[in-house]
């Protein structure tokens, strides 16, 4: 367990307390997209999610003097978001979605196997096409098409590069559920890539 914040993060906190606007903008740039994606797991619409995120930033500013650095700044911000979003979801009469892991499709379509083994090996991905700009759009669309909980987990883990522990803390997930959600999300994004990259997939 780490108790002390890295020096650069404590500097961010100090700068924020001192009212440094550029530091605030930097934080917003860093986390806004992810906050929105996580908020959308809880509430019904994009516009409500935007409100929740806006409220979160205000709560961050109003609470920054009380921030003690027992968790990372990032985890603290996402905790605030999760609490606000849950309150909002309850007011909307929505159930909190984490009991649900989304769908439970297999990672690879069963007809790709014969007797448990590959009927035909997965096709090679042509490098030229793989490194093209369109590939990034395919990934983006694939992530956007995932159920909200899977979307949040893959965004934090793979797009933002968070550790499993940070994701579990921010989203209040068990170790197993974090992995199940990540697994379903990655499998589906891989499948979308395959469909795009392999002509006759």
């Amino acid at each position: 367990m780490e108790h002390a914040l890295p020096a650069d993060e404590m500097q961010l906190v100090e700068a924020l307390r001192a009212g440094d606007e550029r530091v605030f903008e930097q934080l917003v740039r860093m986390y806004q997209g992810t906050l929105l994606r996580v908020a959308q797991m809880y509430v019904s619409s994009r516009s409500v999610a935007e409100e929740v995120v806006q409220e979160t930033w205000l709560a961050v500013l109003n609470g920054i003097d009380r921030f003690e650095g027992r968790s990372s700044l990032k985890t603290w911000i996402f905790h605030i978001l999760a609490n606000r979003a849950k309150t909002r979801a309850q007011r909307e009469g929505r159930t909190i979605p984490f009991s649900s892991l989304g769908d439970s499709e297999p990672a690879v379509q069963p007809d790709r196997f014969a007797g448990g083994h590959w009927a035909a090996f997965p096709d090679d991905w042509p490098e030229e096409r793989l490194l093209g700009d369109e590939t990034m759009r395919v990934i983006e669309r694939a992530i956007e098409g995932l159920p909200p909980t899977q979307q949040a987990v893959i965004t934090l883990r793979d797009v933002q590069g968070w550790t499993a522990e940070d994701v579990r803390n921010a989203l209040e997930l068990s170790e197993t559920n974090q992995r199940v959600l990540l697994h379903r999300a990655r499998s589906k994004v891989r499948r979308s890539l395959e469909e795009y990259l392999v002509e006759d997939a």
């Binding site: 009212g19 930033w57 793989l130 992530i143 990655r186």
Partner: protein, 85 residues
């Protein structure tokens, strides 16, 4: 139980890939995974494709804030700062 009875199939392996990459497999499953992967080109390729998927996802740029929301946030920041003085 014989060795063969404990082997995992390709279809099972693709469902264990995330646990494998997360280091969450039990030691005996880890061994089965490793020996399968060493012998199976198809599963090696699959695992590699999952790794590529993860790497490329990390190159996506996070969604940017629209200018109106940005302006509203900065205004809120300035108000907050003003009240602190």
């Amino acid at each position: 139980m014989t060795e063969t009875a404990m082997e995992i199939s390709c279809q099972e392996l693709v469902e264990l890939v995330t646990d494998y990459l997360e280091g969450a497999l039990a030691p005996e499953d880890q061994d089965r995974f490793d020996s399968h992967i060493a012998a199976c080109d198809g599963c090696r390729r699959y695992l590699e494709q999952i790794r590529v998927t993860v790497t490329l996802s990390g190159r996506l740029s996070p969604e940017q804030l629209d200018p109106a929301a940005q302006a509203a946030l900065l205004q809120a920041f300035r108000n907050w700062k003003g009240e602190r003085k």
